[in-house]
């Protein structure tokens, strides 16, 4: 009975949305705000990558909210999983190939992550993507050898300070310019690493925050007692 109702529901939903889609003019968007972004964002913020310009500039407030969501998720996970017991069993370390590969991969991933973060205003990428790669770098190391754990205190400092950094840059702008998260420091020359004002700084804060949250989440998860030795 329940299954039938659910099938009908999902089928109905899909049909409804498909029928509606017939009326949507895909490939020819309204571009009401979008077109304006394309005209204005480059000159106003000095970032070649308009996605980053909007993410950290025009919609920086959304990004702050989104960092907070990640933070809330990591905090809730920490609350749920609690502390591991000191005598709890750990996963066995991975094989030689995995460990050697991880040792090789770790510096590579860190460098790539940092590159993606600091070039966010120039090329595809930015705080989120770089942060994810950074988190992956640290996590690969832990996965290969679970006896190497991430330092929870260090993670909580990084995530706290990176998040605070984002907000403090915003409040600095509030004091200096009168608007929270307004762009500061001029735009510079588009295409150069040091350009686009505070955008790269915000990107770095985002990258550190995302990296620390995700690494913390995974560390919590991998720190819970392993059962299947």
């Amino acid at each position: 009975m329940r299954n039938l109702a659910s099938l009908l529901f999902a089928g109905g939903l899909a049909f409804l949305l498909l029928a509606l889609g017939a009326q949507l003019a895909f490939g020819d968007p309204a571009m009401r705000v979008g077109a304006e972004y394309l005209h204005v964002a480059g000159p106003e913020l000095g970032a070649a990558n308009l996605v980053t310009a909007i993410l950290a500039g025009y919609r920086g407030f959304d990004t702050l909210g989104e960092l907070s969501i990640l933070f809330a998720a990591a905090t809730a996970a920490g609350l749920v999983l609690g502390h591991r017991r000191a005598d709890a069993p750990r996963d066995p370390p991975g094989g030689l190939i995995l460990r050697a590969g991880a040792d090789l991969l770790f510096p590579l991933l860190v460098v790539v992550g940092i590159y993606i973060v600091v070039h966010g205003h120039l090329t595809p990428g930015g705080g989120f993507q770089g942060g994810v790669v950074l988190a992956a770098a640290f996590f690969v190391a832990v996965l290969a050898d679970p006896s190497r754990t991430l330092d929870h205190a260090a993670i909580s400092w990084i995530e706290g300070l990176a998040g605070a950094g984002f907000i403090l840059i915003g409040i600095w702008a509030l004091v200096e310019d009168g608007h929270f998260l307004a762009p500061l420091l001029g735009t510079g020359t588009m295409g150069q690493l040091v350009s686009a004002g505070t955008l790269p700084l915000l990107s770095v804060a985002i990258g550190l925050k995302v990296g620390a949250e995700l690494a913390g989440l995974m560390a919590h998860l991998s720190d819970t007692e392993a059962r299947d030795q």
């Binding site: 996605v51 595809p124 995974m218 998860l221 392993a226």
Partner: protein
């Protein structure tokens, strides 16, 4: 040409999505979600969204798969076939665990 690629990717994606729901083994199901993530990131490239494609590749195909796989190990669901189940639960009689983890068979 591009449309052909898109067709293949979309079909592959939807097939993997169905596979996530029907595959008995959870490891295979998690692998299928990673395939969906990869397909998505190819589509994002085609839709001129390189930033999103990069993120989806890192998150959808990589990070999320790792998190889910880690969870499978913690949940004791890390087995590839029915027969492996006993090995994943050295402490639990197979018959009982089979009764408890009923998914679609129940």
């Amino acid at each position: 040409m591009l449309t052909w690629v898109a067709l293949v990717v979309v079909v592959l994606m939807l097939v993997s999505a169905v596979a996530v729901l029907v595959l008995e083994s959870f490891v295979a199901a998690v692998a299928a979600t990673s395939v969906v993530g990869l397909g998505l990131s190819v589509l994002y490239v085609m839709l001129q969204a390189p930033d999103v494609a990069l993120t989806e590749a890192a998150v959808g195909a990589g990070l999320s798969g790792v998190i889910l796989a880690l969870a499978l190990r913690r949940l004791g669901l890390w087995y590839l076939e029915e027969g492996d189940r006993g090995a994943a639960h050295p402490l639990v009689p197979t018959s009982r665990s089979a009764g408890q983890e009923g998914d679609n068979r129940a």
